[in-house]
Symmetry: C2
Subunit: 125 residues, 2 copies
């Protein structure tokens, strides 16, 4: 079973590469925090089980692109319904963007086939 | 006290923007994991105290650039000597880069003035 994390970034906002990297950093940070926050739950959460497994590998991260906010919310909805660890990143609006702009969605870590069913149509950023 | 996290990325590797974002994601993920791993230590670790404080704010991330591996190791050394949470990201070499290439250094979250003493000369990516 290949465990991976996928982060989908909006390309229609025309963010610079440093800005994109910061938003993807937020996604990776928040998904990690959520996994740790669920570590003590009973029964064990999938988020923690998958995180723990992922850390034994190369903790693969894949960055994909989507061209609209609507597509990001479609992905968020599908991933949530599938029971996958999922977060939406809102930008604070300090630089480049208006406050609360949705910039990316992070999913996982979780089994690759569960993510691929949702983001398999998207291209690498 | 402004708490922030700084991630310094090498520009001499000519990584694509998706590749850069993934490496910065690794840095944010690993620093978050390290903060949680130190959460139970006695006395409380600075890593956890700063992380906890940072999460009450906008968990600011700043992505900077450096033009060589040597500069990255200079930053890593200085940050480590200063007692700041610090990690080096090595790429697994699955795409674009040779295995084990050092791609970025992550520092913090910690008080901004402690980071600025080390990375204040660097420009935004």
């Amino acid at each position: 079973m290949t465990i991976k994390q996928v982060i989908v970034v909006r390309t229609d906002l025309e963010m610079g590469k440093g800005k994109i990297a910061g938003q993807v950093g937020h996604a990776a940070h928040l998904l990690t925090a959520a996994a740790y926050e669920s570590a003590e739950s009973t029964p064990p959460s999938n988020a923690w089980i998958w995180y723990d497994e992922w850390m034994k590998t190369l903790y693969r991260k894949v960055v994909l692109k989507a061209d609209s906010e609507a597509e990001l919310f479609r992905i968020f909805g599908d991933a949530t319904k599938a029971g996958l660890p999922t977060i939406v990143v809102h930008d604070a609006g300090l630089t480049q963007l208006k406050s609360n702009t949705v910039t990316c969605v992070g999913i996982g870590p979780c089994p690759g086939e569960l993510i691929d069913a949702i983001t398999g149509n998207l291209k690498l950023l």
